[in-house]
Symmetry: C3
Subunit: 662 residues, 3 copies
Amino acid sequence: MNHYQFGVDYYPEHWPKERWATDARMMREMGIQIVRMAEFSWAKFEPSEGAFRFEDLDEAIDILGREGIDVILGTPSAAPPAWIVERDPDIQPLDWTMRRRHFGGRHHDCQSHPVYRAHIKRYVTAFAAHYADNPHVVGWQVDNELGNSHGDLCFCEHCEARFRAWLKQKYVTIDELNRAWGTAFWSQGYASFDQVHAPRVTVTGLNPSQDLDWKRFTSNLICEFHQFQADILRAHAPGKFITHNLMGFCSKPSYYDLGKQLDFASHDQYPGGHFHARHDEYRADWHAAELDFIRAVKQKSFWIMEQQSGITGWEILGRAPKPGQIPLWAMQCVAHGADTIVFFRWRSCAMGTEQYWHGILPHNGVPGRYHREISAFMKKYAPLLKELNGSVPKAEMAILRSYDQERAFDIQPHHPQHRYIQHLATYYKAFHRANVPVDFVGEEHDFTPYKVLIAPLQFLMTPEHAAKLRAYVERGGTLVLTWRSGVKDGTNLCHTEGALPCLVDDLCGVALAEYDCLRDTTGLVHWDGVDYPCDIWCDVLETTTAEPIAVYAHEFYAGSPAITRNRYGKGTVYYVGTQMAPELADRFACELCADAGIKPLLVTPHGVEVTHRVVDGKRYLFLLNHLETSQRVDVPASWRTWDDADWSGELSELGVQVFVEE
Amino acid sequence: MNHYQFGVDYYPEHWPKERWATDARMMREMGIQIVRMAEFSWAKFEPSEGAFRFEDLDEAIDILGREGIDVILGTPSAAPPAWIVERDPDIQPLDWTMRRRHFGGRHHDCQSHPVYRAHIKRYVTAFAAHYADNPHVVGWQVDNELGNSHGDLCFCEHCEARFRAWLKQKYVTIDELNRAWGTAFWSQGYASFDQVHAPRVTVTGLNPSQDLDWKRFTSNLICEFHQFQADILRAHAPGKFITHNLMGFCSKPSYYDLGKQLDFASHDQYPGGHFHARHDEYRADWHAAELDFIRAVKQKSFWIMEQQSGITGWEILGRAPKPGQIPLWAMQCVAHGADTIVFFRWRSCAMGTEQYWHGILPHNGVPGRYHREISAFMKKYAPLLKELNGSVPKAEMAILRSYDQERAFDIQPHHPQHRYIQHLATYYKAFHRANVPVDFVGEEHDFTPYKVLIAPLQFLMTPEHAAKLRAYVERGGTLVLTWRSGVKDGTNLCHTEGALPCLVDDLCGVALAEYDCLRDTTGLVHWDGVDYPCDIWCDVLETTTAEPIAVYAHEFYAGSPAITRNRYGKGTVYYVGTQMAPELADRFACELCADAGIKPLLVTPHGVEVTHRVVDGKRYLFLLNHLETSQRVDVPASWRTWDDADWSGELSELGVQVFVEE
Amino acid sequence: MNHYQFGVDYYPEHWPKERWATDARMMREMGIQIVRMAEFSWAKFEPSEGAFRFEDLDEAIDILGREGIDVILGTPSAAPPAWIVERDPDIQPLDWTMRRRHFGGRHHDCQSHPVYRAHIKRYVTAFAAHYADNPHVVGWQVDNELGNSHGDLCFCEHCEARFRAWLKQKYVTIDELNRAWGTAFWSQGYASFDQVHAPRVTVTGLNPSQDLDWKRFTSNLICEFHQFQADILRAHAPGKFITHNLMGFCSKPSYYDLGKQLDFASHDQYPGGHFHARHDEYRADWHAAELDFIRAVKQKSFWIMEQQSGITGWEILGRAPKPGQIPLWAMQCVAHGADTIVFFRWRSCAMGTEQYWHGILPHNGVPGRYHREISAFMKKYAPLLKELNGSVPKAEMAILRSYDQERAFDIQPHHPQHRYIQHLATYYKAFHRANVPVDFVGEEHDFTPYKVLIAPLQFLMTPEHAAKLRAYVERGGTLVLTWRSGVKDGTNLCHTEGALPCLVDDLCGVALAEYDCLRDTTGLVHWDGVDYPCDIWCDVLETTTAEPIAVYAHEFYAGSPAITRNRYGKGTVYYVGTQMAPELADRFACELCADAGIKPLLVTPHGVEVTHRVVDGKRYLFLLNHLETSQRVDVPASWRTWDDADWSGELSELGVQVFVEE
């Protein structure tokens, strides 16, 4: 049972000790019940080898504990201290160009390096043992945002050695590796595993099979790095939970794999759009997708471990959150299944890279607007979060999000603008606009609870995966496959037998005649008298048993099917041959839902999101207005406001209203 | 005598042995007479040092031979195998930043490295000896696309040592090098050749004379690398031809120099526009130019060694060729002087970097549209190719394409948008639009067969070259020189005496008053009452004996001559002081042809190309419609269709029609 | 007393000795009185260690001397010769990525390297001694454009060792460094100075405090490198002046610091806009600002050591100066306080990187338009320059230009388009448009002579600096502060107490409620019924004692003050919370001048600049027309033309007119 609704990320080591009691009191007054600490404080707690100094942290925990606040502690492996680096500079990672990346930021470590592993083992063992019996320390976080800001990991000899061992375990013989990697091309045959390297800088070209295995290996290494620490923590400090602050669609490690080691998933949510994001785009649907995906990691409710509480940025800053926006963002997390919201951070940091990654309090520690808004939010909604605890949205539709397919398209995107996740978003956003709840699933998950499974870009198609999809359809599921499906096998070699989409062509009732990459141009799809734009790619379909439901209206293949439907077994399979523009995706979503018998939660104007969470049959409905103008929304008579407020039918700008239906 | 009209590039090592006989039969049925093989198969044929295993290749050749198909074999030096790299990793090249480029793609070799040379010598000697008496093996290709994808060669100590030796041979004394390189500037004087390096990364600035010699040296090294292997092949397997798959305007090695070693030139033609090309541009004229240039390499007809037969691309794909487009592209090659068309490749490769560089057959080996179109093309036109064999287009005009001038402008382009080859294309395209046949020539070639010689951008001007141009004009030739001519001497130092264009100012009858780089702006040229755009650069001319035929209409030099004509000896010299927009180039081409008495082959609408090849006085005329709409073309009554088809006066979209005139 | 009005930069070593007498005669005839030489000629004068060969230079000086021309000699440390580099290749610098930058351009030296220092000491000592008694050698220049083209200096072990020593001297203890750098963040605490490095390439993020100190250190290193040579010159050749060719707003070394070592400042002025500059922008105001800034270096009149005399460029060229433009540019220098104009260069160089950085004479040495225009200019204005010698423009307003603030914003610009110098230019240009003379000052300078001090972006605010600003206001000054002031302390840590702008909030009479980065958007400021655009940033002000004079008209803070005025002591403080568009800056400048009692020199149409220099109460007024159309200008009756020309009231295109008022 989760006892926490609200928390905050806190760095007592950044502030004078005299301030700590004030901070703790202010937190308690605000409604904070838990803080995360210590994930970047190795140098303070072990200033030289084995000389552990946890006294300050003990004191901070004690001060917080006296205010009734519990603690999650992070292991500090994302930032080894200078004294370690000085002794062993080669624990600093080598990037793809074999250039050393140095101390001075964070993540300046090689996760393979045996010397670094030994340092971690010593620290984490001592850390776990020290806090094993501290009743205020309730959980752990290993490292920080694993996979973030790590370039493409390290290319040092230790990483290559691990890669070779991983390959040996996978392929057993070098002949099998040669076959799986297609090394007959360009004379790349290996006589032994010793000749195999990480995919380093070449004159031109890379082997896509080698590259895919490298990406799988690096994901695996990150997970194993987490396991290495989690094992120590569980051994020396049993009875505490372990979670990790994941980062939405970050694709470095497989979160499905990492999730297996966690008691529950956590997520860092910064909708303000720092760094490269455009600030004039509507992104509420994207943030919703990330939350729905995080829920998929453990297929249950989750925490937000870092929730934006002010302006974000490093050298370049994002925009100031508007009045009401921080509560809105926090409520969107709740609306998608967050049980606990931990705000990042308590007070804007005066030092270092993140001086402008603002906290609830400004640099001078005097509460301002952000504090006011967040306090009010906590006070009002803490009871709601208690009621919702452990519940999730209930979805009849799932989108298959595959790390392997994403890796394969990262390696060979085909079209300069094609991105795997953006393609998924085409579908997600259409259902989001329609207020149809969606789950994400991985290849290993059970598809059968869902009426509809959207399985986009099934580029790599193994017999096992094809069989699973087939079984899902046979027993009545509606499956949506999209272009470039069935092209390759599990090691990124092209299938050399059968018709595209290979292994599932009969399931789809189509065979590919051709395909066309829409470089520097766009296309048209004709459906029921309307021409809709499409782009990126066109699979030119020939139907065998399927019926065309839309056709191309451009190029030499005008009139050929672009979207088809095939009744198969008790189920149905759609094949979408092109990248749909939003209007076409909406048309398709409408058709699909009607055919599969799925109803939206509510029809709302653009910018108003509706979600629900279900607690023992009682539905909580969330209306979230992401626009800066108020909007009229008609709700069913059966919905009553959760806070017993009068419902005017108008949702204020950036406003939130929760309803209950029993 | 060339016995082959059609061939295909084939990689039996990529496919199961059981398939080979099927492939050979299908090839024969299609009309294939020759295949190129083995240029990327070192690891298969020599899996460890000296352990040659040519059995599989023998078998493939035998299977093909039984179908009456002959073979060209490539030496595999573009891809040394892993076991060589493992033993001598420093045969992998160092790029300009001294970063090692690794195994994993292709061209991961230093062409200077003595260890690598020894490996090549062993392999090529055995290879040549093994196939010396095989009657089906009729020719060789050394390496693959030499100069392609090689960054700027290698900067290792072996390359620098060769560079020093090359310089020593050229300059004999260090004083002469110091003079030729102008090392008085920025204190760059050398006391000995040992102090000289390749042009490496500096803080700022490079010596343009050093850079020019480096570029000449790297061209020379590539040619010497080819010679090294050609010598072995000719010694151990006499009586077979040697050709090389050149790449149009690729400027790394001088194809004039490389061509001297070849029995005939070959070319790789991919008009579909892979990689960086825009797919919405008209490029038929550019492809025509490349073909005309390849003809210049040996000044005779040539082969296409790789002819596009499907979608091209690596990580990013090009567009699907439209129906009819592959035959059109192949016929364009024939129309410009190709005797033999070898399609690349037989079947789309399932492995490695080039999985999407599509072949005649798709991955699954089942013939589709590309196979259908190419088969029909071969069947119809094989007799035509036999008739044309060895003939060439006949041109009265030549464009001087100089590697040295291109190198000098690569080093100092003056204007951000200026590219030497694009400047040549200004002229080529104007004549192409007018259907005036054009040859390319090099500095060493004989100019006298041509009524007109376009010699653009004669930036580097030596006394010898000036004298050759002068003699050409004196005896009646019409010479066109363009801006920035006569600025520098042969080692990239500025001329310090006389008026610009130095050494040829009297020939042109002009002296430069000034010049102006049109940075961030454009200009105007006034000619007979019309203002035409110009850009990039303006030489501001003062006439001595020339007559102005067009003047500038912009800036403080408005009214000064922009284009002049000078009668000199029995000939005429035009000087064009600026980069002409297409309309101005057309106006100029028209003037020039009228003045020189050159007539177009035919007047056609935009997109319809006309060329001819002449066989013993009999003219074959090619009409090629590069647009996707049919077009009306009036042809003279004396032309009859080669295939005795009725000529409707309409050329279908992407259509081809061959005529004969006797 | 300065005896020189006009000079030229000359490289006799680039030309045959036989030409030298001709050059000297032509110079004298033109009006040249002084030449700068030898700053890039180490290899010639010391071809091997200790083997000095100054004979040629002696001869050149002698030839010039016989024409009455004096000489400034440069030390050649910007280009160590090949023989030094061959022996000690590690004197070549390492860039940020630890990549060696090689011989072949210039500045290929590490200024810290003890071996290189020894070479310099030997050369400069001999050089100084040799010319100590030469009456024609009147001054020295150390190196060339120090700080130019030096990447970010060198990151070698010697530079890091000097950095550590510099830090040790500054912070004494490692604890103090840890505090000053905020190393508590991301576990960056150091146990000893030995663990500290230059800010090298990290995986992600840098410490802004470390980065600021590194930038300060590199400035200091450059100044110390200059001092090292200046000390030798002064010791061995006393009685000669030392100056340096500075580069306007180049920010690598602090010119205030460097200036302390100089007898007078010099500047290289190339208004033609080489390299990255756009050629279609109006930049006369920017060039004016650079000149006014150079005057601030020693707070007195200055030299131009390199004045553009033709087309500039390296690989890419700039535009040809238009007729009259070179004299106009030279006169603009005089108008802002230049006493002497040395043109760069005598003759266009035929060799090396700078072949197209054109001189007065073209490559062939035959005088053309540039020579004609410059000759006429010298002849006409030599008497004027004599009269003006030592005088300066008189300004009632100053802009504070701070190297430290610029460094801090280079490290953290906040907004992608924000540049410190561009922000200063917002103010400078408004006053330039209004023809209000402006001085620049540094933090150390005396502010009290000025009615108004514009102190933009006072991001780093120390108690000492706050006190100085306060004192200035208290005694009657008008101070203008702008956004992001008072955010940080002297080591780039955020202030953690008080209201923003910290330490000066009461002086301004405001406290910041919030701020907003205008990423991907713009804003509006409302002032007296008009809405003006603003962008980049908004400080949202709350007034305590100030009065709002303009408010925001966008976002949730619409209606909040954007610009405020506070009467404090005898003075006034403005706070401008946003980046003003030009129209708003003009409105503000108008208000400010009216309030402070500052009058423009004259009202002129756009493109006509007016400045003055005051000699013993006599005013010289310069009218400069930077546009290519003539313009009407009304001048007061009290102004008479300096050359007694009739004043038509019309200033010709690119024209100049000097007036006198007594």
